[in-house]
Amino acid sequence: MIEISHVNKWYSPTFQVLTDCTTSVTKGEVVVVCGPSGSGKSTLIKCVNALEPFQSGDISVDGTKVNDPKTNLPKLRSRVGMVFQHFELFPHLKIIDNLCLAQEKVLGRAHDNSVTKGMQLLERVGLKEQAQKFPAQLSGGQQQRVAIARALAMDPIVMLFDEPTSALDPEMVSEVLDVMVDLAREGMTMMVVTHEMGFARKVANRVIFMDRGEIVEDAPKDDFFGKPRSDRAQKFLSKILSH
């Protein structure tokens, strides 16, 4: 589903953020990307739907090459759901309109259909009553669940999560993770940048560990948590799991 091969990215000639990253996500797989901050994990996931450009290497999603100038990026992105650290709901639109905008303008759905679809998804994330409110009237956890519903409204073939719980108060983390766990169990293909190792343990198929722009470890979940091969991954795990 997602093929990432030998991706290099530089912010400036002397500052390389991604070094020779190669990995893949197959259909129905849940891959968790973790690593210390500044390791390039958010940058890598943003390269997948071309929100960040990269200078060399290839990424393809469902057979479509992301870095090909001929690729219709809006069309590709409409099939790749993305959830951001800071939710990024559109503050001037009501919750339901947040869910309808792209359905109507990108997929060309009729307003009634997109509202129906939107309400179904809001019900699924437990926020049907909030449909007529504005984003700022919701808590962080609720906003992030709306953001997930907004991405799902496009019927994506894969979902990307960029630290979806990092900006949340601790008591709101689980409500968002619950939605993500359900999604994973339903067979959604997911690439998730997160520090939530509990989530990784529960639903991940594979865990990728990144450090200083490199993919240091790319292993099945049990191998990763059982006996990480690299020192850096061991150190990282001991730091975040000891608390």
């Binding site: 739907n49 929100l51 990026l73 809006p74 069309k75 590709l76 992105r77 409409s78 099939r79 790749v80 759901g81 993305m82 951001f84 800071h86 990024e88 709901l89 559109f90 503050p91 001037h92 905008l101 792209a102 303008k105 990108v106 997929l107 504005f134 700022a136 009237q137 907004r150 991405a151 496009m154």
Partner: protein, 230 residues
């Protein structure tokens, strides 16, 4: 103090002042604000487009317009454009451009420079995550601007935009250099015809003051109504 004032002059001149003068002033203000906003948004988008050449052209334009006194631009435009038109079209005589058209174009061009800076600030005030989220949903650049960035930028900037329009409303009185009968021009004509300068200019001042004040008050009401809940 007011014993030898003749306020009857004002009453008698009211139809002329408002039907002729104020209609013109409001029309010029409205059209110039609208044109300036459209043109100004385009300039702001050019400056933010990331294309160096486009941004440079827009930047030079804005700096140029903002470095000249408005009266001078109105004056120059009125007297130069016929010749530029003649030169461009190769006509044998200077092209006649009406005073209204000439002043309207001048105001649009001038206001566009100011509006574009307001819009630029407004667009830049939207966090980068917003356009990123919009493109991640598959919206094109134009759709992102139209449905996500500009509606928020407009709301943020509306108070400043309207305040600038109030300034524009006052600035339209500068068309007196072209002997156009705007509100102030009409008042001035009556004043000189009847020899009642103090009364007429006092009245004109009160009218400008009242309208601008009401508009400012309206801005605050409007702002409270349309502000994005944060």
């Amino acid at each position: 103090m007011f014993s030898n004032f003749d306020f009857g002059v004002i009453i008698r001149a009211l139809p002329y002042l408002f039907y002729e003068g104020m209609t013109f002033t409001l029309m010029l203000t409205g059209l110039a604000a609208f044109g300036g906003l459209v043109f100004g948004t385009a300039i702001a988008l050019m400056r933010l487009s990331g294309y160096k050449v486009l941004g440079r052209i827009a930047g030079v334009y804005v700096d140029f317009m903002r470095s000249l006194p408005l009266v001078l631009v109105i004056f120059w435009f009125y007297f130069l454009v016929p010749y530029i038109g003649q030169w461009l079209t190769g006509a044998s005589r200077p092209i006649s451009v009406g005073a209204f058209a000439s002043s309207l174009i001048t105001f649009i061009m001038f206001e566009a420079a100011y509006f574009s800076e307001i819009m630029r600030a407004g667009i830049q005030s939207i966090s980068r995550g917003q356009p990123a989220a919009a493109s991640a949903l598959g919206l094109t650049y134009a759709q992102t601007m139209r449905y996500v960035v500009l509606p928020q930028a407009f709301r943020n900037m509306l108070p400043v935009l309207i305040t600038q329009t109030i300034v524009l409303f006052q600035d339209t009185s500068l068309v007196y250099v072209l002997s156009i009968t705007d509100f102030l021009g009409a008042a001035s004509k009556v004043a000189q015809r009847d020899g009642r300068l103090v009364e007429m200019y006092l009245f004109a001042a009160i009218v400008y003051f009242t309208i601008s004040c009401i508009a400012s008050f309206g801005v605050r009401r409007l702002q409270a109504r349309i502000a994005i809940i944060r």
